[in-house]
Symmetry: C2
Subunit: 161 residues, 2 copies
DNA sequence: AAGTGATCATAAGCTTGCTTATTATATCCA
DNA sequence: TGGATATAATAAGCAAGCTTATGATCACTT
């Protein structure tokens, strides 16, 4: 129980503290390439799945479409990616890497490894793998917790509205 | 190597995605108490170490003093904490919980456990404990990586400035 | 004692998240 | 065919991070 309560006391806020540190670190390093960490994450995801709709990409990135829209604006301004209209649905815009975007990702490929290696220093590859798996598990847990609490909310509103 | 490269591909951005999800979740739940997750984190830290200087608290929270200043403004507006001038150093303000802040934390004590338990569902207490330890390790790694890269920066500037 | 440099809190302005609302377009059903 | 509902992208405005700069105070050196 001591063990449980210690986790209980710390997990929620510790993750936030780590995130802030990691953000400062990654932004500082990425800035040498004229890009921010947030933009880089989008660019990397576009590379992995070109031709996606913005809404699909937003879901993959766990962010709201409007947040993504503004990041895409910046990536387009820099000519790293482009929006192309969808032939069969005129609401949709699909995202494609441009040549300079591909080149940038090439130049940055070593940086991600370096940042990750520095962050995970002293953690064995096996532990790192387990850690990542656990983070994915937690992501799923939180995603479904949000949906559940949203559903409860809707039910209450229906009952009292 | 497969294992290493899979971590390499994902750790940096996965943590950001999890953070965003967790933020949405915690903010939504905390809002029932009229407080945000960020403000809650500050309030909880003040409870644990009353009488701290703002600058010390900012360091504990891994955030910049100005970021903290504005969160503290809100906590003071709500009368949950107060700033008291230091007797021996007139620059310093020390932070103390007020009665209603203590009451609020009491009311919210169950929520943190609930959020953490939901997030860590399916992860054994032993694994959760190891996970938290690893997050702390990574925090230290990143903190020192930032300092190192800052030092390199300063060295370069000195050399070329 | 006085000046130089550090430290504390804060201000101004930017980024990247969010929520809520708007506009255009699709889809569905009656 | 047409009206209600849903979906895609964007806009406006707020929250909470950041950097850089400022004013007040302190500490140290001379």
């Amino acid at each position: 129980m001591t063990r449980g309560s210690s986790v209980d006391q710390n997990f929620l806020f510790t993750l936030g503290e780590l995130y802030r540190l990691l953000r400062v670190y990654a932004d500082k390093e990425a800035s040498r390439f004229g890009i921010t960490r947030a933009q880089w994450a989008v660019l990397a995801k576009v590379e992995r799945s070109e031709g996606m709709k913005q809404s699909e990409l937003a879901e993959l990135l766990e962010m709201q479409p409007i947040t993504l829209t503004r990041l895409i604006d910046k990536l387009c301004d820099n000519d790293w990616i482009e929006r192309r209209s969808d032939a069969s649905d005129r609401r949709v815009k699909r995202l494609y890497l441009k040549k300079s975007g591909r080149q940038l990702l090439g130049k940055m490929s070593g940086l991600k490894s370096e940042l990750t290696a520095n962050a995970l220093d002293g953690i064995t590859p096996a532990d790192a793998h387990r850690l990542l798996t656990q983070l994915e598990t937690i992501k799923e847990n939180v995603r479904s917790a949000i949906q559940t609490s949203g559903a409860e909310q809707a039910r209450k509103e229906q009952r009292y509205g």
